[in-house]
Symmetry: C2
Subunit: 482 residues, 2 copies
């Protein structure tokens, strides 16, 4: 698998000179990202985008271990065979016209798989939008960067059975300011599938959590084993589409997947510790929370808010996902009262009020987190208030770092209540303090639910202590939030 | 009520010279918004922000029919009495320190209400963040516009029992690019409450739908009557916080509201045709959809998508809210096949594929909407694809206008799948074609659910035909989307 993310040299078979064509765009994106040798392959060109072109992959000099294929389907078997003969180890087949179109396409795909196996290669696709791994300079996708956002490096790996949806999620992630470690568009999964990539990503240091969009998998037993092996080490979040009869019918016509019973998938997820998500945004948000924060070891949450209404809604949403908002002990309430404003409420929600300053929020965070009375904190600043400054992220980061050094390993999440400026500052909360931010109290509550689902799973497997120890080493060793 | 939104002159009692103070900020905001006479009242100043100051509201020249009050609670009764003597008709009391603090505050509030009644005035507040009505130039709030977004004029009125949350929602609306007709922070509701404002807003031409954030109401019977009278004319969306035990406890400590049983509120909403929302974003999104589109007269939805995965998820979400995604008739499928690409699917979801151009989407929209086989359309463009251009909003607007002229009155909504550029173009879809946009297939499905809830209510009341006739007149008379 490594060859897809850290190739030594890349050939683009079917590199085109016409802007807009798939074979042009993928070369364009690779030229702007890849730091190793890059070889356009096109029998009718001598040079494309300033790079020397070769008539066949057989003519390409060393090193080349990855080929990206963008030629018509009927030509694909021949060029992939040449790649095999040339010693290429991995191929990414972008071309469509295989199993998804039926008939001749099915036969072509079988022929392609036979070739790939014969040469001991691995193949992503066909009928996919490619691979994106920003930290290693691989943008082997054909989306136009003037129309498509590509997020920077980050802790979440993302596998998508739907190409267009995968690209749209990357576009969203770029806007949202959250990065990706590896993205793979799985396409028809004729060779490489979720199980292969899970096995790789478990050992991938840059990947701290794994998100997947799935319509259907072929080999359920293999998928299940891969999940079991992954989730004791790293969190896995899955969005399974085709839940309803209408959705399953749509999936069958989209990827040809037998979507299978949604309930069966949900049972497998429950039994293997996979956190199920309901929307792409939730999938990414869960994965980000699991990447940045420790899981929840119990179900008690403290809410610290500058707005009473947010405290009410957060309480509602936490209750609706089975988490508790317990009253704090008299001792903790007394400690809070000493630092908060006279009209603040030291119960839970801790309402520091709209007159609060940064210090009230961060002191409340410190006192509540140190109390040992809760398993998570939801921190709700409103950045439109006069007392809440641009410096809040840095101040929160200092408190979080202290808490981690003291061994306080409870997750902290923050809903963003507000508009443009609120989001700008909140994103810094994420980058500087490692506190993941969510678009509403509801989303933040759901994210804590995900952290609890995963925490409970680790407890069941007796793996929570080990996981927290690894988290501690990561965060104190320079991870985000310490 | 009119005086709060269209005052002839405004006095700011407690206008301050010190930037950052409430009495400064509200004058600052009014100076930058209000086009009529504005009078700072402050016995220690001769001029504030370049405006002549008066020692008392009694000294203020004509015309003055609205007073905004920002003095300490104990002084409020005296200055409000002076306003009454001066002939002021409405007061907005921003000051806190009344019923919400108990004890002496309760007595002060009673005294205040007695004065307001004695002079036949109406009062918003106390303990509120004010009133905002952009089209009439009233920004009587004290939020700093360098930290707080103020949306432009729009079709949604928004009443909030929580001030800070109300401001945060306005901030969000500004970022999101959706406007507001009237915003009122209700505060302690010592005089003006939801029922008063509902009665006013029903007759307010600029308001096409009403959104409310509620923790608890005092006079349930009055509230219910106001809702009954409003919803046959205009859609009302309500977010009732305090659903859970933890949330109800938080509400009691926040606004002192007896949150009442959530189920009782839900029953009242059901019986009066109010659409319940679960989050502030959803509340605003429902209200916007109801303002721009006709309600759903049945439960059949067509999905038109460029991405298969989105079609699957949209099907799932529509099913989960009780809407149907029926197969289209052979005749309609044949008409679609004639205009779509060879690999497109003319069933439902209509999958125009990632290779589609604008024309495929808009022709599919026309054919499906004209078929009479569905009661709504969910249109899913991906703006990162090469074939989908910046011109799509204008093209959709033309088709929608034609449909409306033909009398096709089914709602059209669009999820935005993607990032920054997708949102920019999608917002134009909203502004130019009146097609409301949502952040995911899930949100768009929920919005259609809201349109169906309201449509069913109008059908039950025998009021759908009249409503659609008013909608037709509005949209053909220059409303957004025709």
């Amino acid at each position: 698998m490594e060859v897809f993310f850290r190739p030594r040299g890349i050939a683009v078979i079917g590199a085109a000179r016409e802007p807009g064509k798939v074979g042009y765009m993928v070369l364009y994106n690779l030229k702007n990202s890849f730091r190793g040798p890059l070889y356009p392959v096109n029998p009718h060109a001598r040079e494309i985008l300033g790079l020397r072109a070769y008539p066949s992959v057989l003519d390409v000099p060393d090193p080349v271990d990855l080929a990206v294929v963008a030629v018509p389907a009927r030509v694909v078997p021949r060029v992939v065979e040449e790649a095999g003969r040339r010693g290429v180890k991995g191929v990414i087949v972008l071309s469509a016209g295989f199993r998804e179109v039926g008939g001749e396409g099915v036969r072509l795909e079988e022929e392609l798989v036979e070739i790939v196996r014969r040469y001991g290669m691995r193949m992503v696709g066909p009928n996919c939008i490619g691979v994106y791994s920003p930290s290693t300079g691989v943008n082997a996708t054909f989306f136009d960067p003037s129309r498509q956002g590509f997020p920077g490096p980050g802790p979440v790996a993302f596998l998508s059975q739907s190409g267009a949806l995968g690209a749209a999620v990357l576009d969203w992630a770029e806007m949202r300011g959250v990065g990706v470690s590896r993205f793979v568009s799985l396409g028809n999964k004729a060779d490489v599938d979720e199980a292969d990539l899970l096995a790789y990503l478990v050992g991938d240091e840059e990947t701290r959590s794994i998100a997947m969009y799935i319509e259907g998998v072929e080999d359920g037993a293999r998928f299940r084993r891969a999940l079991e092996e992954a989730t004791v080490v790293k969190p896995v979040v899955a969005l399974k589409a085709g839940r309803s009869a209408a959705g399953a019918r749509a999936a069958a016509s989209h990827t040809g997947s037998l979507a299978g019973s949604y309930r069966v998938y949900m049972a497998v997820f429950r039994q293997t510790g996979v956190v199920p998500a309901d929307t792409p945004g939730e999938m990414y948000g869960f994965a980000l929370g699991l990447a940045l924060q420790p899981p929840m070891a119990g179900d008690r949450v403290a809410i610290i808010t500058v707005g009473g209404g947010s405290g009410v809604m957060a309480s509602d949403w936490l209750s609706s996902v089975g988490l508790r908002v317990p009253e704090l002990s008299p001792g903790t309430q007394a400690r809070l009262r000493r630092v908060l404003l006279p009209f603040a409420s030291p119960r839970n929600p801790v309402d520091v009020t709209g007159s609060a300053r940064d210090e009230h929020l961060v002191e409340a965070l410190r006192i509540v987190a140190e109390s040992g009375e809760v398993d998570a904190v939801m921190l709700i600043p409103y950045f439109n208030l006069a007392g809440i400054s641009n410096e809040l992220p840095a101040k929160v980061a200092r408190v979080v770092a202290e808490l981690r050094r003291q061994g306080v390993m409870i997750p902290i999440v923050a809903p963003v209540v507000g508009g443009r400026r609120a989001w700008e500052i909140a994103r810094r909360l994420e980058r500087e303090a490692g506190v993941p931010v969510y678009g509403s109290e509801a989303e933040a509550a759901r994210a804590l639910w995900a952290l609890r689902v995963y925490g409970r799973w680790l407890q069941r497997r007796g793996a929570l202590e080990d996981y927290l120890e690894r988290y501690r080493r990561w965060v104190l060793g320079g991870g985000v939030g310490a």
